[in-house]
Subunit: 734 residues, 2 copies
Amino acid sequence: MDASALQLIIPVAGIVAVLFALYLARDVLSRDPGPAAMQDVAGTIYEGAVAFIRRQYTTIAALAVVGAVVIGVIISLVESSAQVAGTQIFGVDLGIRTGIAFIVGAACSMASGIIGMFISVKANVRTASAARRSLVEAVQVAMRGGAVSGFLVVALSLLGVYGIFVAFGGLTDPAQAPFLIVGFGFGASFVALFAQLGGGIYTKAADVGSDLVGKVEAGIPEDDPRNAGVVADLVGDNVGDCAGRGADLFESTAAENIGAMILGVGVYAVALAAGWPNPAAWIFFPLVVRGFGLLATIVAIFFVRGREDEDPMNMLNRGYWVVTILSVAALALVTNVMMQTAGQTGASGIPVWVYFFGCGVVGLATSVVFVYITQYYTAGSYRPVREIAEASKTGPATNIISGTAVGFETTAVTAIAISVALFLSHWLGDLAGLKSATGANVGGIFGTAVATMGMLMTTAYILAMDTFGPITDNAGGIAEFSRAEAGAREITDRLDAVGNTTKALTKGYAIASASLAAFLLFSAYIDKVNLILASRGEPLMTSVNLANVNVFIAALLAAMLVYFFSSLAIRAVGVTAQSIIVEVRRQFREMPGIMDYSQRPDYARVVDITTRAALRQMVLPGVVAVGTPIVIGLLLGYEAVAGMLMVGTISGVLLATVLNNGGGAWDNAKKYIESGNLKDENGNVLGKKTPAHAAAVVGDTVGDPFKDTAGPSLHVLVKLLATITLVLAPLFIR
Amino acid sequence: MDASALQLIIPVAGIVAVLFALYLARDVLSRDPGPAAMQDVAGTIYEGAVAFIRRQYTTIAALAVVGAVVIGVIISLVESSAQVAGTQIFGVDLGIRTGIAFIVGAACSMASGIIGMFISVKANVRTASAARRSLVEAVQVAMRGGAVSGFLVVALSLLGVYGIFVAFGGLTDPAQAPFLIVGFGFGASFVALFAQLGGGIYTKAADVGSDLVGKVEAGIPEDDPRNAGVVADLVGDNVGDCAGRGADLFESTAAENIGAMILGVGVYAVALAAGWPNPAAWIFFPLVVRGFGLLATIVAIFFVRGREDEDPMNMLNRGYWVVTILSVAALALVTNVMMQTAGQTGASGIPVWVYFFGCGVVGLATSVVFVYITQYYTAGSYRPVREIAEASKTGPATNIISGTAVGFETTAVTAIAISVALFLSHWLGDLAGLKSATGANVGGIFGTAVATMGMLMTTAYILAMDTFGPITDNAGGIAEFSRAEAGAREITDRLDAVGNTTKALTKGYAIASASLAAFLLFSAYIDKVNLILASRGEPLMTSVNLANVNVFIAALLAAMLVYFFSSLAIRAVGVTAQSIIVEVRRQFREMPGIMDYSQRPDYARVVDITTRAALRQMVLPGVVAVGTPIVIGLLLGYEAVAGMLMVGTISGVLLATVLNNGGGAWDNAKKYIESGNLKDENGNVLGKKTPAHAAAVVGDTVGDPFKDTAGPSLHVLVKLLATITLVLAPLFIR
């Protein structure tokens, strides 16, 4: 097979995946939406979600248009003032292209978020309804609903990057085009930042607020229809967990893809000089790999099946293994066909492609390792969660202390796994022996990019599993709310527990890909800076020197930004929750019929209040996230920005790990106790309504804004740092 | 005045300070130790503290001897294998010297910790006794007791560094000696690590354990004599807060002093080449500045006085301002006399010394800024603590969430203040225009060292204020325990509140000095590495390149180490507390007379159990702290170690800030509620025994191991990273 033939897989796989998503959507929508009671509450959730998304995306769209114009103008002005060399595209032309790429990236991200969320608020009630009949059917409905999101996010990101790449001359001048499309990644991050922040604040404020005012103050159960905040809580699962994570992974795939293509340019130059058959293949490689990842995921979806008495997690795991194994096979094919070196070999006479195949396998293996690490730290059957549950016996304080210790501890395996993956892929890439004209070995860094691309092959499947979470969570809420039969609720409870695990897994996956990509995005930034320096005839940046005081200061401020941003996000949840508490209290007071079910609470009003408050609260952290890197870059220069990027990424990834895993462990420690697994010294079960359970509920509540607002927002922040610096690099070079 | 005459101030000030400490100790010991009931409990505390310290320091001494031998052998072997150039001292000779310096550093650190703690367990009962008569007298006794620690720590560190410097030929070959004494700093950090860990684990385990089993389980008040754990709690204040912080600041002053002298060698070369009058003055400068700081502190101690109705904090602040103002004057004198440049000026024709005087003032100002930042974030009268208190109304979960947000938020001003200080001092140093033979401007980095030295001038006073904390805390406990008259208890309560603030201030100060020193220690490491590379005839390290994958991996692992180490420290508190709970429960069960005061609990047994458990628990985090940098260095090499050092410092400083300030704010939010400052919506006071107070107690308990174990241990870890890499640099160069 020929490399350029293989490139055709990019649009083909993208379009096939979109069509398959439409097929799945039709399939889900054709299912039985259940009895009227279910449809009623589902309709309310749907309305609330649509209202929030409409208002949120209107705001974001306005911000994105302003952002695009500002960026376009800045790039035009800054680049025009530089010396323009050769045929490269600079100045106003570059400014316009960057602005357009930004808008396209933003639009694709918004589209995938909106469509995915639309399906998931339709799939929730159908999952609840299916649970009345069959576990397997419920799993399939939820997973297919989730897969709509998964496929759309990944396919739109692939088609978007490819489309803008082709539009900006990628087929004729492949070495220049990757630098022109960085705006796409920035647009995607920009949208993701606000989508994740707004959704994350909404979901946890609604959750914490309605729990505090309902469970704690009024003493009514969770998801009880008398609580006016409960619909807002169910809406929140969709707009936060579902739309937010979709936007997060959209920008991950886009930004890392573009970064990998920029690094591919370095290998392209090597291939061109050496006269290898298809030099451009090195630039197209990241896109082709992802195309195959989509196809593998389509196959895998059909393997999500099983027996009625089987653990639903097994069904999902089966699909995950299918996509992983198919991806390994596809990797072998793609590296073999595309990485042709006219007989040149790497170390020990082994063909070059073999080394990069190894890098890709390292990436896929890292993804598997993270799945197991996350399970170990957040699932009830292992030491960490049991430790937190035991600590709950002596009250909320020891529960919190223990959970914090567990959260901190999780950074160890995370950092070690990432270090091993980076080291191995860099080492394998080095062995491939790709020497540039200046004698530098460009294979090592490209190896880390290939590992990242390998890891991203499974993104669509991971995202489907993730969206499975809020869909089943909602299905459980709908079943509870509509007082469905006990059998259905038993099934939705089981699915909900699995959904908690898959949500945690996705966060682990997102973190792993962000850290693995950190080095490649950092290298892409250096390449971009050097391109500009070269065009101005200035000496290139050959190192980022930590011994330079400005680099140190930027690094310190970046590490600080990570904490400060998290602080703002956590505080935003508190402020928003407060407004919900006030409103629900008012309804209890002014509508006395609520408590005896004779009056229906005004759910819509709470949804509306939460929407307004969450959107207001997302502005400050968003502005801080976008503004800080720009200020640091303007004050301290482009070398300092590199230090900021690197240390900000390291700090952000680790703090997100702490927040995500700590939160997940607290959540499951509560569930562990609720399932009757905790016993006192005499062997009596300490279950619900015991002080130990109350202590575990405190831990769960603390973990909520950590794992669902601050942690996921940090993923986005880390990638935003990368895309913003990539786009605005010219601004920082004085 | 002549520069070499000024150098005499070093031994003179050191000896005067030791004599003054002895005078203060005599003064404190001559005071009335109070009635028999007080002396009885104080005696028990004294015995427990001495027992712990004896066992702890026996362990540490054994570890230190092993450490010294291992380090001596390693340095001998590694350096011997290197090419020895010129007259420089390498090989076995260097190995022996490093081992000796290590032992001397360790011994001085242990001596100052032991003597300081001995006085503070004598001052506590005398403070309690004085409180029966007069507030001012109680303040003076506590402050003088604290000052004994402060003077001994700083003077022994000064005399130790100076003594070993002179012994290793500092007077004849000043440019070489600073590199020979790095072992002193490592010895000091090594002791500090275990002193802080052991003491920190002990104090918080005793605090948390006896609170949980007494207040929560048995329902008896804090510090109640029926609680068998209460003496262990009072012992803990001394061994943790007092001995631990003493060891922490001992190594800070030592390590930063040695680092500054190493940077002084660079300026020495410039001065020698330019033929300036007294080149060695640049190396002696850091020691001379600290000598004057000691003298200024002696004067300041006499200004700690006031009226009976005055806020005790004012009396302490008065002394602090005196030492600060005198330090500015001394700085002007020292820079003017010692920095003679034979007419060469810096930018704008301003004399060189003026620029460095400015750097020193920047350091002193930073210290003042940190005092106010810490007060803002941890004192009850400002927004952050009030916010946490308000959040307590909705339960422990919102209290914890709010406190976490505050803790995260505090990194912002901290990082910005440090950045400004570093930037200004580097900029001023640059303007001084000290050009090395290669044309490099060595003034910038030296400027940051001068700023650090300026900041350290007030260390003795700060440490006196810090030790004031545990002394008054103990005095309160003794008064409560011995059922002293209400007037005395009212005074000790006021002093205790002030002590909480001064303890928080010291932590802020320790963090600020650690961050300011980070850059200088980092630069000293590079100087040391280059000295070795030059001796082996290899190319020098001119930059620490973050784009090198090994540097990135080391940085990631260093950031992880900070979390992992904290996790181990926090967990150690939990395990140790558990053993206390089990023992106190056993005593309640088997000695039924305890509850009606007819039986005396076995306090000593709890002290003994806590001692054993704390010492066992300090081993793992200690080994991880010492081992990780060595492993990283051996695997990834000397450039990666530089990345580890820098990113580890940044991460450690910020996480310590979060833990210290978060913990302090939680503590004071509880006190804010106890003082009756929190009101519900109808204006009713929500004081003790309300759910809001219970929620605040949870926050306080969570904050305890954060602010008194993990946070302070991180200070030590950060400095240990610097000293360990400085000493073992030869091992990492392959």
